[in-house]
Symmetry: C2
Subunit: 196 residues, 2 copies
Amino acid sequence: MKKGEATRRRIVAQAAGLLNTQGYRGTPVSEIMRVTGLRKGGIYRHFDSRTTLTLEAFEHAVAAKRERFRRALAGRATATEALLAILNLFREEDSHDEVFRGGCPIMNLAIESDDADPKLRAAARKAMTELVGAFEHLIARGIRDGEFPKGDARTRARVMVASLEGGVMLSNLFKDWAPMENVLAHLESHVRNEFR
Amino acid sequence: MKKGEATRRRIVAQAAGLLNTQGYRGTPVSEIMRVTGLRKGGIYRHFDSRTTLTLEAFEHAVAAKRERFRRALAGRATATEALLAILNLFREEDSHDEVFRGGCPIMNLAIESDDADPKLRAAARKAMTELVGAFEHLIARGIRDGEFPKGDARTRARVMVASLEGGVMLSNLFKDWAPMENVLAHLESHVRNEFR
């Protein structure tokens, strides 16, 4: 890897943590300079705009979550097992820590951009569509395989994602795991009861 | 009302809408100046700091929601009726519009402040505690009156609030009412089935 490319990746990784806690839109460039130890020119040599850097930092954060989902799903034989594995993922130490420091990058970018920044909102929509789609896909498989009763898989997926995101928000706000645990227990029982 | 007090109230009301869409922390003072038509000095004559103005604008937004809750609850004989009235409140035209423009001020301030600003976070915590408490109070009444089975009212309240906030977030992100409607239908059925 060339030195320029290594620096670029380091900036993206450091900005990812910073922007997800301090705000994708609200964090001043001076903070990115402080965290990376670079001058403004040293940062913008690698990115044609602040928006480009923001979008890459966001994608970096989402990619880490995507990879963790992928690993949790490997080898799950049934849709029920797969959904429970995804829910249980939130109990892992890494996820636990992330809830308290930053929370969900997709929700964070959504809240900051929904009424304020169409470019960032498009990125949040794309990532959220993928997240809801992952749940929908598993639920649809469970319906096809006769694990869950017939019904609209997207509706069930939206309810699951809404509850999880709300749980992350409450637990991060209060720095208290209890709301998230309550949501997880509720959803697990919902899945085990076949969404009835 | 003295002229100074009237101006102060107008700034708070105008800032409330602006900050809830553009960000409580991220909105530059220049935007508050544009929306109010005042110079910086004209704004800060009335507020000793940007934080004071932000907190008053937030409290203005929360007070409007509190009043709407109060009206929806008036005359409801049972806890079930009261909870369904609160859920149905989200279908009113005003709430519907608010979901698409700004969303929930408490969630917005929570997401912006949870890892970044302890003073604003304290205000978000206070308002969220009140919101969860309102649900908890109704659910506890329903348990006492034998409408709902015994169980932890706070747990049930947290799950309801998490789902609602997540639904608001999804609907505002996609400017699509469907996720919110899915969440409302799910929670209504949950209340009607006595949280079983």
